[in-house]
Symmetry: C2
Subunit: 418 residues, 2 copies
């Protein structure tokens, strides 16, 4: 890997990544992971001072504190990152699992076995912890990682990658299993996304404009992640106390993440009972409300919702509110505006619960629960590289099992086809 230069050689980087990827499945990947965890702590001074440079530079641009916070590493956060790498070590190896197997009448024995992708590219925004997450998840899954973080975290990413590469070498693993595209040149992103046969999968992680750019530009396989315009629908038969707790949780427990709720749909029959109390409670929690005309009759303080509100993933203390006439109308609204991430119906009507789960086309469809549960750790995957909102390959939270592929091994004794 070359250092910062105008002439970063992506082709050489990808060739190196491919070459070492052939050896990763058989290498002691857990040893490499432990070495990385230790090195992140040993080199915390270096890492934090590089990060401080990024933070200072970003602050001088007048960036919002919420974004500065995402960029910032601390001793404690770094320990948390190292700890999550150690947890990865404890997870079962996702490779060489016999996923299926059978024998044909002619005696051929077929095994379907999990194997690494090979080279995985990650394009992501400012959080430097993603640099470690992505590299170590790929390594555990037997693939080389080629990382492209955002330029405002370049100092942090550069030191993090250097420390991880050194740790790999010390553990007897190939350094080139982890590489950083160490240049601000945007053309390199286009090159990476066009490198058919050289990179097996690119995962974008970040805001919707990044995701859109990547999936529309890419000529290599990609997995769309993380854009969540999620809905909570309070049906006529819902337990309204429970419903209030759930919409509050889905909206304010962590508003900046993709599985938080962005629109509340309420069945007209319970609007009068539910809305005044629930919206007052949300408002008290500093949630700004954008409501349809009918909803505003029950809570005039809410602003008028426009078409744009139904479409928006606020990622903020903001919520759109709409009264609907039926479960069908709720499903129609979600089918029109949803992003196939997480949707929830709150109901005691079994028929409606089933209808909603059958007809809503989303990665996770909840009955009587907060949308906030769509998460690789919550689901028990032990890790998460992102939440897929596409239907090809993986849907919903992606852990180790979702970043491997498979091949068929077929053992014969001279069989030919007749």
């Amino acid at each position: 890997m070359s250092s910062l230069t105008e002439t970063f050689n992506l082709d050489a980087c990808l060739k190196d990544a491919r070459q070492v990827s052939r050896k990763l499945a058989k290498a002691d990947r857990n040893k490499g992971l432990l070495a990385i965890a230790d090195a992140l702590e040993t080199h915390s001074g270096e890492i934090l001072s590089a990060n401080a440079k990024d933070v200072t530079s970003e602050r001088s641009k007048g960036t919002k504190e919420a974004l500065i916070d995402r960029l910032t590493l601390t001793e404690k956060r770094l320990e948390g990152i190292a700890e999550s790498v150690r947890l990865l070590v404890k997870l079962p190896d996702p490779l060489n699992k016999v996923l299926d197997g059978w024998q044909l009448d002619n005696g051929l024995q077929i095994r379907k076995v999990s194997v690494p992708f090979g080279v995985i590219g990650m394009i992501y925004e400012s959080r430097p912890n993603v640099t470690v997450d992505a590299a170590t998840l790929a390594l555990k899954a037997g693939s080389s990682a080629v990382l492209r973080g955002s330029s405002n975290a370049l100092n942090s990413n550069r030191v993090l990658v250097r420390v991880m590469r050194q740790a790999l070498q010390d553990a007897g693993l190939p350094q080139n299993a982890i590489q950083l595209i160490d240049s601000p040149d945007r053309e390199l992103v286009t090159q990476l996304l066009s490198a058919r046969g050289k990179v097996d999968l690119v995962i974008p992680r970040g805001g919707s404009s990044l995701i859109q750019h990547v999936v529309e530009t890419a000529k290599v396989p990609t997995i769309e992640t993380g854009v969540g315009n999620c809905h909570v629908f309070v049906d006529a038969s819902a337990d309204l106390e429970q419903a209030k707790a759930i919409i509050i949780n889905a909206k304010v427990q962590r508003p900046g993440v993709c599985n938080s709720a962005e629109t509340l749909l309420v069945h007209k029959e319970v609007a009068a009972c539910f809305l005044p109390d629930a919206l007052a409670a949300l408002s008290k929690l500093n949630v700004e409300l954008f409501a349809c005309e009918r909803s505003r009759a029950y809570f005039p303080e809410a602003k008028n919702a426009s078409e744009e509100d139904w479409e928006t993933e606020y990622l903020d203390y903001k919520l759109a509110v709409k009264i609907v006439d039926s479960v069908e109308a709720a499903i129609d609204h979600i089918s029109t505006y949803g992003t196939m991430h997480s949707e929830s119906i709150l109901t005691n009507d079994m028929k409606n619960a089933r209808k909603f789960q059958e007809e809503i086309d989303a990665a996770a469809v909840f009955v009587n629960a907060s949308t906030r549960f769509t998460d690789g750790f919550v689901f028990g995957f032990g890790a998460e590289i992102g939440i897929s909102t596409q239907k090809l390959h993986a849907r919903g939270p992606m852990g180790l099992a979702q970043i491997v592929t498979y091949k068929y091994l077929i053992d014969g004794e001279g069989q030919i086809r007749s």
Copy 2:
């Protein structure tokens, strides 16, 4: 669906496809399939006369007879097509299978359930049977099919689609579950490949230039299929009689298909024993041989192989031949020139067999068997929409289980995230 016109409205076609796709999972899809099978036979006269037009027009262009044959339908072939639709009816429904399920500590019950993609596009070359295959496989898998065949089969495809749509309607299913892009305008292919959110998956099926064009142009998820530069490697310890039978089978049993062998690699230690006899036998079966310098010493009638021969998927009575020094050299050659389809080692050395299966990155890796077995029907899938040579989503033969996706259904009792 509009009839042939300069202004075919793809957007309306895709909207219709989406709308009816919502109902397919619960519709009696098998009833629709049986109606289609019957209708193909009832309307055979109409279909064959439309096909005759395509054949006449193609013949007048001086097209090769092999290609004319692929285009041609006969009463018997049509019966075969109808019969394969009836076999599809007997296969288990790929939808609503609980693929996995567990309960979280907080009581949330998670089910991972197979569901349809929604709208599947197929872009394919002249064989009109693919029109029926693709439409009926998509239907069985609960998705709408939007078909784009080649212009030289347009008369056949148009009648086939009309007959299938009428059969669906007669069976009480929505006609728009099967639609043909009924215009020769190539711009419509680009539009289909750019229709993000409107088509969930596009599968190209045809020659390598079609596949390349599709995967490089597409902004929608695609699955690369069917390009097979497959190798048979005869190791030093191979049973040479068996090896001769296998390379003959892999090359000449059906040379025009993707899982036939294109290059024979032979370990130097058995070259003298194996090559004269094996190459003579292949030559007698009209196989044209392109051999490396060392191989030609054992069979001077062979032509000189060039770099291009190692790269070429002949799909013909042609075979490249090369002597290699070791199993490692064979693996290197295949890693350089293979297309990740099907590769075979013939050996009695367990260590080499294992090494080859571990290190070769292909959908199907055989030991002591012909590459010709990579096939959805042979594998027991009961159907095949193509053979994937990519790593995302599906690898190798794709049956019904590979053209569905999944979602998570999560049942709670008021759970919120803490």
